[in-house]
């Protein structure tokens, strides 16, 4: 690699449009699962109200990077972060020891690979984040739940059965319920960890459409295995390999005129 790997990724390698404001950035981010180093000096900007996709072969560290943004790794012993993730505009380092991971998760919400609604009613699923934030009063909750379900394009399908158990919904509906849950708390960034890998093509299309809609309200970071999906939904794409960020750029540039040979090989399907 001739020692070029990290330096090139510091700034977007090819951007023609004027840069949007930064919402967050990873600075020299290293991550260890015990002795295994999963991220090696990742430098990556996350632009406000844009969709940034993380792509790369299995085990490249894209999910690991995503889960740094809401400190999910803190739930398990033996994990270690080095470096910073700066959240703008207040310049908070999300990884700092004195920043409570719960505070981070209140600002950065997440949608998981497999739909994981709580075995509670549809209403309670969406309201849970609000209840955790101490929100009381039926009217306020009702309003917020309805708004979130509408924004997740699920309201019309569930408005007459809000008290039914969330797990009775179809897979795609469950995932939209999880999006509503993550949306209800007005997060600044939403993380999507391969949100459609357990869904059929029609449900996948509706989630993708939703992601494109949501970026007007919130900054989105999405991990995907599916390169067409990255091309369809994202504005920026980061290609990762073996824990390093190989290339970052505007999605159309990265897909059509990749700067690096490795990126091109992966995108054209020569490996991965």
């Amino acid at each position: 690699m001739l020692g070029s790997g990290n330096a090139a990724a510091i700034a977007p390698t090819h951007v023609d449009a004027p840069l949007p404001p930064l919402k967050a950035e990873a600075r020299d981010l290293h991550f260890h699962y015990g002795k295994f180093q999963a991220l090696k000096g990742v430098e990556m900007p996350v632009y406000e109200n844009k969709v940034t996709a993380l792509i790369g072969p299995s085990g490249c560290g894209k999910s690991t990077l995503l889960r740094c943004f809401n400190r999910m790794h803190d739930l398990y012993p033996g994990n270690r972060y080095d470096g910073q993730i700066i959240l703008h505009p207040d310049n908070t380092n999300l990884l700092a020891d004195d920043v409570d991971p719960i505070e981070v998760r209140m600002r950065v919400s997440m949608v998981f690979q497999k739909p994981n609604p709580f075995p509670k009613s549809i209403y309670e699923n969406v309201a849970y984040g609000l209840r955790v934030r101490g929100m009381k009063g039926k009217n306020a909750l009702d309003e917020k739940v309805e708004e979130s379900l509408k924004n997740a394009a699920l309201w019309d399908e569930v408005k007459n059965r809000l008290n039914e158990v969330g797990s009775n919904l179809s897979g795609g509906q469950q995932q939209r319920l999880c999006i509503a849950r993550a949306l209800a708390t007005d997060p600044e960034i939403m993380l999507f960890d391969e949100p459609t890998s357990a869904l059929d093509p029609i449900a996948t299309a509706s989630i993708e459409e939703l992601v494109t809609e949501l970026k007007r309200k919130v900054t989105i970071l999405i991990v995907t295995h599916n390169m067409q999906q990255a091309a369809r939904v994202s504005d920026y794409t980061a290609y990762m390999y073996l824990g390093e960020l190989v290339e970052f750029g505007q999605t159309d540039h990265l897909f059509f005129k990749p700067k690096k040979k490795e990126t091109e090989d992966y995108i054209t399907g020569r490996f991965g």
């Binding site: 998981f112 709580f118 158990v165 849950r181």
Partner: protein, 321 residues
């Protein structure tokens, strides 16, 4: 990859595929083990079930004439025909209440702590191994411990509270282990989902972990209690009476504050001890009483287990991942 055709055909292994008849014979042969296993399984089940049924029916026949309403409302007596199990079933009920009130919160809390809060290191490993081992300690050992600790050291007397505490100790490992197993059955992604919206550990435990593991916990609790209800050795060790012709004071009183806990200090007897007492009498007539009491005890245990199954079914209906 560029091997040419003649070379590659020369290295091909002989064909495995046989005629249709060969395949069918092979499948039939392989399936023989399914049949053998099913037959063995049914036999094993049948032996267990028939043995239990024979014992239970025999007990019912022996005790049938004594299974009358008066049997439940009479104290033990020197005359077999007038003896009843009033003090025994009241004693068993009270002891079970104490056992449940002590063992359930303690065991569930310990299980939650070990699963959700305790750091995973060698100390927790040692604790875990010890809890599993405690479940296998003979109950008489708990009786001796209780005699020394509760009766003499703490001066709790040979009373309902001592018996309840002893049996609580006995079933604590069962409650802890089943709580931990129920918690472990909750998928990591559900737990992560709760943390991801910003819940604290306590909020996650209170709103998710406990409700979702409740079916498993309750099953463990009831299995523990149905073990405790039949325990005799530790209760004899701490000095339960075998002949008692009065009831503990009522927990509800006529005067303020309308509740009394004097019953905790009362002497008592329990069903298995009453049975044991009657079987050891030389007079044959008492053996019918013992059989009747035995049938009732089995019935109590079966009812508790049935309740556990029903409860688990009800609670699990709405819990799907």
């Amino acid at each position: 990859m560029a091997a040419n055709a003649p070379e590659s055909t020369s290295t091909v292994a002989p064909a495995v595929r046989g005629t249709t008849g060969d395949i069918r014979r092979l499948i039939a042969k392989a399936k023989r083990w399914d049949v053998i296993f099913i037959v063995l399984g049914i036999l094993a089940l049948g032996v267990g079930f028939l043995t239990f049924l024979a014992l239970f029916v025999d007990m019912l026949i022996d005790g049938w004439e004594r299974l009358r309403p008066e049997f439940f409302t009479q104290f033990p007596s020197r005359r077999a025909s007038q003896a009843g199990i009033l003090s025994a079933w009241v004693g068993t009920t009270l002891v079970m209440i104490v056992t449940a009130v002590v063992a359930v919160p303690l065991g569930v809390a310990a299980g939650i702590y070990l699963e959700e809060y305790a750091p995973k290191n060698w100390v927790t490993d040692v604790i875990e191994i010890n809890i599993t081992n405690l479940a296998g300690v003979p109950s008489i050992v708990y009786g001796l411990l209780a005699l020394g600790l509760f009766v003499y050291a703490f001066g709790l007397g040979q009373s309902v509270q001592t018996a309840g505490l002893t049996l609580a100790l006995l079933i604590l490992p069962i409650v802890i282990v089943s709580t931990r197993e129920a918690i472990r059955a909750i998928p990591a992604m559900i737990r992560e989902g709760a943390y991801a919206v910003g819940a604290t550990r306590w909020q996650t435990v209170k709103d998710h972990i406990v409700p979702y593991s409740m079916p498993g916990i309750l099953t463990g609790v009831i299995i523990g209690l149905s073990r405790a209800i039949g325990e005799t050795a530790p209760i004899i060790t701490i000095g339960a009476l075998t002949f008692i012709a009065f009831l503990p004071p009522s927990p509800v009183t006529a005067d303020f504050p309308f509740l009394s806990f004097e019953w905790l200090q009362a002497p008592f007897t329990v069903m298995p001890i009453q049975m044991f007492n009657w079987t050891s009498r030389p007079d044959e007539a008492f053996h019918a009483n013992a059989a009747a009491a035995g049938a009732i005890l089995v019935f109590m245990t079966l009812t508790m287990n049935g309740f556990a199954i029903w409860l688990r079914y009800r609670l699990r209906k709405n819990i799907k991942w």
